[in-house]
């Protein structure tokens, strides 16, 4: 069952108009003279608009949203009364679902539908939580209809002038409150990309207004939410801490060599050779600790950990300095008499260390200790740092985009006094 034989003669020019919305239509524009007609019993005022506009989606066009087919019944251009910017709204209708709206500004779209219960009560200026989202007041405004075409289920012109509008956003969602003395209407909306709108109506996206900038309800990244990222990052951090505790608990930390080397034992040699020691238990880490009894002096050495079977060398160096004194009534010191080197992934085998020392002015000796299977915090911190890069970049990017989003709002949380 379909169609409409419902007609109304224009009160201005007499043209008989077929009324698509039948008795539900309470205001419409005449197809011939373009006058805006109020069809109510006591208000039959008619008016003409000086502003002209063309809807990007033709009246009568049908589009599907969430599986529901809607027909475009009316088109209006609204102008905000304070800053005078304009946007466009399409009135959609489905007999079972009622009406909904498509709002378009700078090529950015929102699909908006009435809801039975408002998400909040109390002062309109207060932000609120609803359905796991935090909605912030984005704008409060009055608007006038500067152009209308098609049919409407309410006097869209008069209602627009008498209504104060509040919009609260939690991208991609928006709640709108239209309030006057006679009615309170809450609607919920969701951002739609131009591609989604084009697909819904089966029309080329190039016929829609070109998209400029980011829509005020356009989400930063549609793949996941900030909350999910925080939870995932915390989960990984907890896992890393647990793994660190596990490795700390299982590390044997076996001292396989410990010795002291005196400068006078060097004689004509340029390097010391430690006694041989065995590294056991497969491939594991090795830590080399160096101590030099320095007093306002320095010590430097190149080290070569050598596998006596394969000849494989693991080279590293250590530079140790320690200075102290008394100046201006205060003691001071800088540097340290100790140094350490951590080498991971050392295969088992028989090893010794060649040490190529350079002594300072007064120091005559140093000690070296080699420990097998040592847990290291450095891997943990490096991993955490790498894991933190993506969330950090995400939140910085989000902050920049959000600050930009709120530039047009009188209620920006990013404004500093």
């Amino acid at each position: 069952m379909s169609g409409s034989n419902y007609t109304i003669a224009c009160l201005n020019c007499g043209t008989v108009n077929t009324v698509r919305g039948k008795a539900m239509t309470l205001a419409m524009t005449c197809a011939s003279c373009k006058y805006y007609l109020r069809l109510g019993k006591w208000n039959t005022d008619r008016s003409i608009f000086s502003f002209k506009a063309e809807p990007a989606i033709p009246l009568g066009k049908k589009g599907k949203f969430d599986g529901v087919v809607y027909e475009v019944m009316g088109f209006v251009v609204k102008q905000e009364t304070k800053y005078h910017y304009k946007w466009r709204e399409y009135l959609l209708f489905n007999p079972m679902q009622g009406y909904a709206f498509l709002a378009e500004y700078n090529g950015n779209w929102n699909f908006v539908w009435p809801v039975e219960h408002g998400p909040k009560e109390g002062a309109p200026e207060i932000d609120f939580y609803h359905e796991d989202n935090y909605y912030r007041l984005y704008q409060k405004y009055r608007a006038e209809v500067v152009y209308a075409r098609g049919e409407f289920f309410f006097d869209v012109v008069d209602l627009g002038e008498s209504t104060v509008n509040h919009e609260y956003i939690a991208p991609p969602y928006v709640y709108t409150l239209e309030k006057n003395q006679d009615s309170i209407l809450w609607c919920k909306g969701e951002y739609c990309s131009p591609g989604e709108i084009a697909k819904a109506f089966g029309m080329p996206v190039k016929t829609l207004p070109a998209k400029e900038g980011r829509g005020y309800t356009q989400p930063v990244i549609t793949g996941f939410r900030a909350g999910s990222l925080i939870i995932a990052s915390l989960a990984i951090l907890i896992l890393m801490i647990a793994l660190q505790f596990f490795f700390n608990g299982t590390a044997k930390e076996e001292v396989v060599f410990s010795g002291t080397f005196n400068r006078n034992e060097l004689k004509d040699q340029k390097f010391f050779v430690s006694s041989s020691f065995d590294l056991k238990g497969g491939t594991k880490s090795v830590e080399v600790d160096v101590y030099a009894p320095l007093v306002n002096d320095w010590f430097y050495a190149d080290f070569a950990l050598i596998n006596e079977t394969t000849g494989m060398e693991y080279n590293f160096s250590k530079d140790i300095e320690f200075y102290s004194g008394y100046e201006g009534g205060e003691s001071w010191s800088e540097g340290s008499t100790r140094g350490e080197a951590f080498i991971s992934q050392i295969p088992e085998g028989r090893y010794h260390v060649n040490i190529y020392p350079e002594f300072g002015t007064s120091n005559e000796s140093f000690s070296m200790r080699v420990t097998r299977d040592v847990s290291s915090l450095s891997n943990f911190f490096v991993t955490v740092l790498v894991l933190a890069i993506f969330p950090a970049v995400f939140f910085i990017h989000t902050h920049i985009v959000e600050a930009k989003r709120w530039e047009d709002s009188d209620y920006s949380p990013y404004t500093t006094e």
């Binding site: 379909s2 008795a23 019993k41 027909e71 309170i184």
Partner: protein, 212 residues
């Protein structure tokens, strides 16, 4: 008007048996003539044809709500200044009246009887808090002037059959709702609950093929 009594339409002689225990009006579905009514005085109804619209309920629509089977037997349509409200009169439990109030996909059920309230009725407005006798608090959603009343079939308890009165609906987040008529500072209230279309399990509805 007597329950189960058979009346003959004065216009076309069609016989009609009153189904509701407390019916106010019976309109002939064949010729739109008033078959019988239980109204006295200035509100005595005259034939008022329902205009064509896109409603998908109809007389004969059945449904189930909370184990109650109901059948729509009448319709009263209020044309408001910026809205319309269909009061679908349904019968359940052998003679009780259930109002299914519908507009633009929004539904509410009212099985209570009208109660008169006098306090502050002249000052009702959207957003106003209303406290019912059972302490339930509601907030006004809209206040509209009624510009037209039309009806067909069998109509349960109803007060105004001529436009000019005001109507208000108030609700809360729990889905409790009230429909209020206001005329000359006297208000009558009907309490009920908001429901979804799905919850009504409707059958025998009109299918508008263009929107499939």
């Amino acid at each position: 008007m007597t329950h189960n009594k058979v009346y003959s339409c004065p216009g076309c002689s069609t016989a009609y048996e009153v189904q509701l225990e407390r019916a106010t009006l019976v309109v002939c579905r064949v010729c739109s003539e008033i078959i019988t009514d239980a109204v006295n005085g200035s509100e005595k109804p005259k034939p008022a044809h329902i205009p064509d619209d896109w409603s998908f309920l109809q007389i004969g629509t059945t449904g189930v709500y909370k184990n109650y089977n109901f059948t729509v037997i009448g319709r009263l349509r209020l044309q408001l200044r910026n809205e319309y409200k269909n009061f679908w009169c349904a019968i359940y439990e052998g003679g009780k009246c259930l109002w299914i109030v519908e507009s633009f996909g929004s539904f509410a059920l009212f099985s209570s009887t009208w109660q008169e309230i006098k306090s502050e009725s002249a000052h009702l407005h959207a957003g106003k808090k209303i406290t019912l006798a059972n302490k339930v608090e509601l907030r006004g959603e809209y206040v509209e002037k009624c510009e037209g009343v039309s009806y067909t079939g069998e109509i349960g308890s109803w007060i105004f059959f001529y436009p000019g009165f005001f109507v208000m609906q108030a609700s809360n987040a729990s889905g409790q709702t009230a429909f209020i008529t206001i005329k000359k500072s006297i208000a009558h209230i009907l309490t009920g609950e908001k429901v979804t279309l799905k919850e009504l399990n409707l059958k025998n509805i009109l299918t508008w093929d263009e929107w499939k």
